[in-house]
Symmetry: C3
């Protein structure tokens, strides 16, 4: 597990992994396109550029996950040993969300079979969703677009409340005593379906379609 304080509302980091962009010898077009789209979606966006070094990418992801709710990376998802963004992401997430990576590739596959060469990972660290996209501007933009429909719900779900909040609050309030249960025997936001049951503002379809 990770995370100190919960990240603030609707902030995002666009992280470009590219030796040449980091060296200043290539414009970071992909980063700019992703940032523009996220701004249009209402995010307060920061940008950063790192070289294709796994340790640098991991450190950037770790630091950003403490202050951003969403991190979208671009670059380093290809086949060569120099493409290390997926490895860096897998190393620092608490768990992966394979369906979103599958969805991005299934969407891309309808346009080009080369979409399947992306090893992009999607995962969660603390309360932050991390999404890898390829380095090409078009592929990066299309990858983000492939999951825009579920982005708000995913971030709201991660923002909580979920049980860890309730539990920590209870434990803090009852040091030395048996931790009491909530009146209904459970904490608000226990796992995703319970969040729905507690009346959080989710799309109607979610009440019956998603865990």
């Amino acid at each position: 597990m990770s995370s100190a304080a919960a990240p603030g509302p609707r902030t995002a980091l666009v992280l470009t992994a590219s030796d040449r962009s980091a060296a200043g010898t290539r414009d970071d077009t992909s980063g700019a396109i992703l940032a523009d789209r996220l701004t249009a979606l209402g995010f307060d966006v920061e940008r950063a550029v790192v070289a294709d070094e796994q340790a640098e990418i991991e450190e950037a992801l770790r630091a950003a996950s403490d202050v951003h709710r969403l991190i979208v990376t671009t670059g380093g998802t290809g086949l060569t040993p120099r493409d290390v963004t997926p490895q860096a992401t897998s190393a620092i997430v608490d768990y992966e969300v394979p369906g979103l990576a599958e969805a991005i590739r299934a969407d891309g596959r309808m346009r080009t079979p080369f979409a399947d060469l992306s090893r992009a990972v999607v995962g969660v660290r603390g309360r932050t969703l991390i999404v890898n996209t390829p380095g090409s501007p078009k592929a990066a933009a299309e990858s983000l677009e492939a999951i825009v429909a579920v982005l708000d719900h995913a971030l709201e779900t991660l923002a909580g409340p979920h049980d860890h909040d309730g539990r920590e609050a209870r434990e803090a309030a009852t040091i030395g005593a048996a931790a009491p249960r909530d009146p209904d025997g459970d904490a608000p936001g226990d796992s995703t379906e319970d969040q729905h049951a507690f009346g959080r503002p989710v799309p109607p379809i979610l009440e019956e379609d998603v865990d």
Copy 2:
């Protein structure tokens, strides 16, 4: 590896992972729907409910895999840290069956993009197939339905015979002697294609389509 005795014929456990259902403050509608469907498919179905605690889920899966051929879970597949069913499943399976998890999400994606938020895992422990489904009744039912067409074949394949049977039987019969080979130089049921070659009752299409 796991498993003591082989599970009996066509029995299944529906395992609900839900803090509120475990506390008795929520009806286990999803568990009931899954159990009804599996009963209609000819399974002898048991049900159990555990809280969203990874250790409890792991223990329930381990114990059930000794006596059931199929375990279908519902709940705890979402995005929050309180959703731990996939982690518990990954921790106790011998290996995953990623294609079935992909198939469930690909099927769900045709109805709603939110299906991709499920981190459901499918895997094998011993001779038992374990399938995660989300906590919502509709998503749980649809997830199971997405793999019903292959369920019988998967369970028959797992039930064997496969080589471990043959080998263990031979070794038990020949302690202290060199283990003999079968007349055809191999044990019946060696890997999946050999099972087909040995004339097990599988769908015709399988003879040419599946390993």
Copy 3:
């Protein structure tokens, strides 16, 4: 990491994992079909057969990855404990390429739901692409066909140059001195998008679609 010298140009190994083929009691039809197809695609093809033993498969994959650019396996991808090719592959690759495994299953799913029972893995070891296919001749052939469109590009990308080449060359040339940067501040072939930027002969669509 793995790999000694880079594999030669356009050579491939077809590796059959089958107890019965290894024992000589079953014709290796799948291996023959895969070899014919790869030969038609211009590969210089070798073939080998091993039993369904994880250690044997791993050793064969390790040895072949030093001399072949492509390894296509057939067999041992099914559900039983005797099917161990995916485990052997995962154990020896530097990283997996999940999109290609997803693409193979998505393609197969359009013909039969049983395609999802294949646990086939695709991955990279050194500069070598390793692709698992099922043991049945038809499924093996269809699996290979599902990724033929991207095969050349994948192998060209892996063949480099990528940064490890440049870096090693620079380091070898400057022992005891600070490693100099290339004139443009970076090495040709740094990660995949940079290879594109450096004008490697890739399909036009790739310039804008793939990382």
